[in-house]
């Protein structure tokens, strides 16, 4: 019992390993619905990482948006559109090699970027234990309303927030307009 196990690290490796394993499973699996299922599990493990880091708002956001919304729609779309020859897809060796090359390049880039941050090893266990978990929702909300609590000049993101909101509203109205059932006037005339 000289060196006690540091449980947050254990859980970090658990969730990180799960996320990576299911991400690999998405690539390897030939069946498209199983791919979607593994993607959900991978994204949920990422949400677990957020919760572990104390960012419970971002974690819940991850579950709500990625795991919940997008994947319900993805499965919806996949199930509606997948015909027999698309349900199980065989990836050719060339595609696999290409994807592997791109993936390795991207991984190296991330690796380099992570190592170039001076404090990439993070803080020590004592410092980590001294940090108290803070509510994350209210600082995020304040920041979006134009009053960041962590910036000295209180500069926030109100304009960006408003632009994105209007943009999403336009998208919603447009989608509703495109999807609405049009009356066939010509048929009625006949």
């Amino acid at each position: 019992m000289d060196a006690p196990i540091y449980w947050p690290s254990v859980f970090f490796f658990l969730f990180a390993g799960l996320a990576c394993a299911f991400a690999l499973a998405v690539v390897i699996s030939p069946n498209i619905v199983r791919m979607a299922f593994y993607l959900v599990l991978s994204l949920a493990s990422t949400a677990g990482l957020f919760f572990l880091a104390g960012a419970d708002f971002v974690g819940a956001m991850q579950i709500m948006i990625y795991v919940g919304g997008t994947l319900v729609l993805l499965v919806f779309g996949v199930m509606l559109t997948s015909q027999d020859r698309f349900i199980s897809m065989k990836t050719s060796a060339f595609d696999m090699g290409l994807a592997l090359g791109v993936g390795i390049c991207f991984f190296l880039l991330l690796w380099y970027a992570a190592l170039s941050v001076p404090g990439w090893r993070g803080i020590t266990v004592e410092q980590a234990n001294a940090v108290q978990l803070q509510p994350t929702a209210s600082p995020i909300g304040m920041g979006l309303l134009g009053a960041r609590v962590d910036a000295p000049d209180r500069s926030g993101y109100l304009l960006v927030f408003e632009i994105i909101s209007i943009h999403l509203l336009v998208v919603l109205i447009g989608a509703a307009y495109l999807a609405r059932a049009r009356r066939r006037k010509t048929l009625l005339l006949e």
């Binding site: 619905v33 708002f57 319900v72 001076p118 404090g119 410092q127 940090v131 509510p135 994350t136």
Partner: protein, 416 residues
């Protein structure tokens, strides 16, 4: 709970033991709440449907009221053959019921059963409302998997309907849940519940006409989002055999039902906390008896037990109302379901949200108490205190620590 064990010198030496014990006890209670709750609710469903249809319901198993009927059901399910269609996707078919059940169970992790200094909650999340709404929406994923992997058109149609329904009903459900968040100024369910302490006139449902309307919209949307009649299009017997669980039998089938009853209880408990005062009874009996944390630790815990009883009672009443509705109203058509959501629930929720905002702005003390200048003063005093906290909240020192953490992380040489 782990914090409770450590801080009160029961297990200060071995924090890991405290954490393990706390986790085990909490998951024991939550699993039992869902499982025993399902036992009770299935029996209640039979009795209530019987009485509403002028029958007796189960009468024999286990004595007078047939109260062991669910156990008999369970035994029957255990002995059933575990069937799987030939064309089914084996892995997904087998895992789908567990996905549903896990989603339903995880919602209970963030539901507090009593507040105060040591709230009875497994996972005290700062954004609990948001987390629960997100996780409850995941139950549909198991249903979709079941519908797809069964290789049966009835299952697939059922799953499609359920997906459309749940995705559209999440919108008004979220808008209704935002109203108590707005009133309490927090997404923490413990804070929302504690703000409604002291008598039923403090409950958010009676806060103003807007919240009263919002509660009923919330309850309608919650009924729809857990797929209960009159919104149970996903398992419409008259059209789709049994919908998404047509091909299931035995224990796998019963997992879907445990998930359904678990979700019903979860949304009812959430409704109780958001609108019906949570663990605060209609009359503050625990407060009158002095069962609060001001009088000592064990008094407060006794009061919390009373609060848990309160909350679970409210949740069970909510589930009972859902059953009553199920056996009273006929099933809607799918276009009527979507119409109810988009043309009625969403506009009503939006208008009452605006109304509550206006009410909070214009009449912060309510209708019967004269308005004071203090009530109008804006709470956000962080502007006057440039260096410290965003809000003069109870966790001011914690906020200070956060500020320090942020400043040190901005300047990494200060850390090392």
């Amino acid at each position: 709970m782990a914090q409770f064990l450590i801080e009160n010198h029961f297990l200060p030496v071995w924090p890991w033991l405290a954490y393990t014990l706390a986790a085990l006890v909490q998951i024991f209670f939550i699993v039992n709440l869902v499982a025993v709750g399902a036992l009770l609710f299935i029996w209640m469903e039979r009795k209530i449907s019987g009485r509403i249809q002028d029958r007796l319901g189960p009468t024999r198993v286990g004595g007078k009221f047939g109260w062991l009927q669910t156990l008999a059901d369970g035994l029957k399910l255990l002995t059933k053959e575990d069937l799987m269609p030939d064309g089914a996707d084996e892995f997904l078919f087998k895992i789908a019921p567990y996905v549903s059940f896990c989603a339903s169970l995880s919602a209970f992790m963030a539901i507090p059963f009593a507040g105060g200094d040591y709230p009875f909650v497994a996972l005290h999340l700062n954004a609990a409302v948001f987390f629960i709404l997100a996780v409850i929406g995941l139950e549909v994923f198991g249903v979709i998997l079941a519908g797809y992997s069964s290789a049966s058109k009835w299952s697939l149609f059922g799953a499609m309907r359920e997906a459309a329904q749940v995705v559209s009903y999440e919108v008004p459900l979220g808008m209704c849940a935002v109203v108590p968040v707005l009133l309490a100024g927090s997404m923490d369910l413990v804070v929302i519940g504690d703000r409604q302490a002291g008598g039923f006139w403090n409950w958010y449902i009676f806060h103003d006409p807007g919240t009263f309307v919002t509660f009923w919209v919330y309850f309608t949307c919650a009924t729809a989002s857990v797929n209960r009649a009159p919104f149970d299009l996903a398992e419409a017997e008259s059209e789709l055999v049994a919908g998404f669980h047509t091909e299931y039998s035995g224990l796998r089938w019963s997992f879907f039902f445990m998930a359904e009853y678990g979700s019903m209880l979860a949304v009812s408990l959430l409704a109780s906390i958001l609108f019906l005062g949570g663990w605060n009874g209609p009359i503050p009996i625990a407060h009158m008896l002095g069962l609060t944390f001001q009088h000592g630790l064990w008094w407060g815990i006794a009061g919390n037990f009373l609060g848990t009883v309160n909350l679970i009672n409210k949740g069970v009443i909510g589930v009972t109302v859902m059953m009553w509705v199920r056996w009273t109203l006929p099933r809607l058509r799918i276009d009527q379901v979507i119409t109810t959501c988009l043309k009625y629930c969403v506009p009503i929720a939006a208008v009452s949200f605006l109304f509550v905002t206006w009410w909070q702005y214009a009449l912060p003390n309510g209708l019967f108490v004269p308005q004071t200048p203090e009530a109008y003063s804006v709470r956000e005093q962080w502007r006057n205190q440039p260096e410290t906290t965003p809000k003069p909240a109870a966790n001011a020192s914690a906020q200070n620590a956060r500020m320090q953490m942020v400043t040190t992380s901005v300047a990494p040489e200060g850390v090392n």
